[in-house]
């Protein structure tokens, strides 16, 4: 099994970090993973993308034209990636910033009011973790606990103090999906 995911948003929205946590979790769970950002002099202020591949096999191409999952944090990213998601795939978007009417019928959409939720948790910068939690819950790609553990394992010492609040954010994102699914 191989899953290709794209994360995209403004620089500063924690896009790259969200993808990296997922990659760590995949690696710790014995998967092959690749994480490759777009990079450029316009990073700041511009748009940041990252492609994450999680696979049971050796990963050839770390890039994909048609991801199974796209996670978009702003309108330009929505515009860019909505069409690319592979049929049957999933598009998760930050509905705090994106007001969107789905164009496609052949993919699933998941609206996560990530900034609102994160804001309520007291730190708007954790929107990315909210989305990641939702992603995990919606795809079952990895156990949520694996992602939590990845934070514990790999956040540098100086940042370990944020682990707990990040985990709460992950949880909220996951809960949101569970509630939706329950609904």
């Amino acid at each position: 099994m191989q899953t290709e995911l794209v994360f995209s948003g403004f620089g500063g929205q924690g896009v790259l970090f969200g993808g990296m946590v997922l990659a760590y979790a995949g690696m710790d769970n014995g998967k092959n993973v690749t994480w490759i950002p777009s990079y450029g002099p316009e990073m700041r202020g511009g748009t940041a993308h990252v492609t994450v591949v999680i696979s049971d096999e050796e990963i050839g191409s770390p890039l994909t034209r048609r991801p199974q999952v796209a996670v978009v944090f702003n309108i330009p990213s929505m515009t860019k990636y909505e069409d690319t998601v592979t049929p049957g795939g999933l598009l998760i978007y930050n509905s705090s910033l994106i007001n969107h009417s789905p164009k496609r019928a052949d993919i699933r959409y998941l609206a996560v009011p990530a900034n609102d939720i994160a804001g309520k948790l007291g730190n708007a910068r954790m929107a990315n973790m909210v989305v990641l939690g939702a992603l995990i819950a919606a795809t079952g790609l990895l156990p949520l606990e694996a992602v939590c553990q990845a934070l514990r394992n790999h956040l540098p010492a100086a940042k370990q103090k944020f682990v707990q609040s990040n985990i709460v954010a992950l949880q909220r994102g996951a809960d949101l999906v569970k509630n939706l699914q329950a609904a």
């Binding site: 990079y39 050839g60 191409s61 890039l63």
Partner: protein, 368 residues
């Protein structure tokens, strides 16, 4: 050691440190800058030399100086910086001191952009600046290979007293994937006999590329060519996947090579007999290995992230024994598996299967 999630640039830097690197001189340039930054933290911590040079010209000449003392030394850069190093590279080649250069290629020509590319293939494999020399060029396709090649690069550099390039691209530099670092080796405590360390109780040593008089310089060149010949005989490395029964062989290196793997897998899934031949050493180029394959394949498809450079080496290797087709993307664009697959399908339709001929020699078809 356990695998870690490592960024290519950082992995190369740390691998070099662990291979006993004594000195690093470099100048920032995207997409290799994390390499220099890692060095700036690690080398002083270990009491070794890190210096951000004023330019790539200075960097390569500092490398030249440090290399003259027989320590392990490296620099890293990308297209524009590598161009500025050409004179220094030629001096290093002519002086026969060992040095390792990492080139994380980006789109060109000129300032171009910072997306991944392989467009410096000719520049780094066909010469080391002016003059007749050619460096060893290793082309990793994964972070693990980037690590392994870096260590190998130092060993080869020392063994042959030569220049070795580790040639990645922006993708290899920027990707993170799990990989294992080598154990830490300390810089060698002794220095080679030729090294500049002070003429204490021995005749003086000289490091120079100046040989006035054609006979003397020709003698140097003969020695260098003999060395290159030896390298050709002993240091060819490549990866061949599914080539045994392949009708079509894709030839691709580095990032293009690893991406082509996905295309090959998909092609096999569709029932096409496709293989992948991935040169790991770009110089020495695995010519005879490719030539052997040529006899059996109905066509070869060379995929590069440039306008067609390695393709000439492939053609030289197969020497007309099989058609060679090229597919390339330029300017930082990357050929994705689906495009490569399209090319495979086209090729498969265009060429009839090859009948085995007596001496294993195929029918020769001229290629445009």
């Amino acid at each position: 050691m356990a695998k870690e999630l490592l960024k290519g640039n950082v992995a190369i830097a740390e691998a070099a440190v662990r291979a006993g690197l004594q000195a690093y001189f470099g100048y920032p340039i995207t997409p290799q800058t994390e390499l220099l930054e890692h060095m700036s933290a690690r080398m002083p911590e270990l009491g070794r030399t890190f210096l951000q040079a004023e330019s790539e010209v200075a960097a390569i000449n500092m490398v030249y100086g440090a290399a003259s003392t027989g320590v392990r030394v490296m620099t890293s850069s990308s297209g524009p910086g590598i161009s500025l190093m050409q004179e220094g590279l030629s001096y290093i080649a002519g002086s026969e001191v060992p040095a390792v250069i990492v080139d994380i290629m980006r789109g060109g020509p000129g300032l171009g952009n910072i997306q991944p590319a392989q467009s410096d293939y000719n520049q780094i494999t066909k010469s080391a600046g002016h003059g007749d020399f050619r460096p060893i060029v290793l082309a990793p396709g994964t972070v693990q290979e980037a690590i392994d090649h870096t260590v190998l690069a130092f060993d080869l550099a020392d063994k042959y007293r030569t220049l070795v390039f580790v040639a990645g691209d922006g993708m290899i530099g920027q990707i993170m994937e799990p990989a294992e670092l080598p154990p830490m080796r300390q810089p060698a405590q002794t220095r080679p006999a030729w090294a500049l360390t002070g003429a204490d109780n021995r005749p003086k040593n000289v490091v120079s590329s100046l040989y006035l008089g054609a006979e003397k310089l020709e003698a140097l060149n003969k020695r260098l060519q003999a060395k290159l010949q030896q390298i050709k005989e002993n240091e060819v490395r490549f990866e061949a996947i599914n080539t045994a029964d392949a009708d079509i062989v894709i030839v691709a290196f580095g990032t293009a090579g690893r991406i082509a793997k996905t295309a090959v897998t998909e092609a096999r899934r569709q029932g096409l007999r496709v293989g992948l031949f991935r040169p790991v050493t770009l110089f020495p180029f695995p010519s005879s290995q490719l030539e052997k394959l040529a006899a059996r394949t109905k066509a070869m498809l060379v995929v590069e992230m440039n306008a067609g450079q390695m393709v000439d080496d492939v053609k030289l290797a197969v020497n007309g024994k099989t058609p060679v087709q090229f597919y390339g993307r330029t300017g930082g664009a990357v050929a994705l598996p689906d495009e490569i697959l399209d090319q495979i399908i086209l090729l498969d339709k265009r060429y009839p299967a090859k009948k085995a001929t007596p001496n294993g020699q195929g029918v020769v078809i001229s290629v445009a």
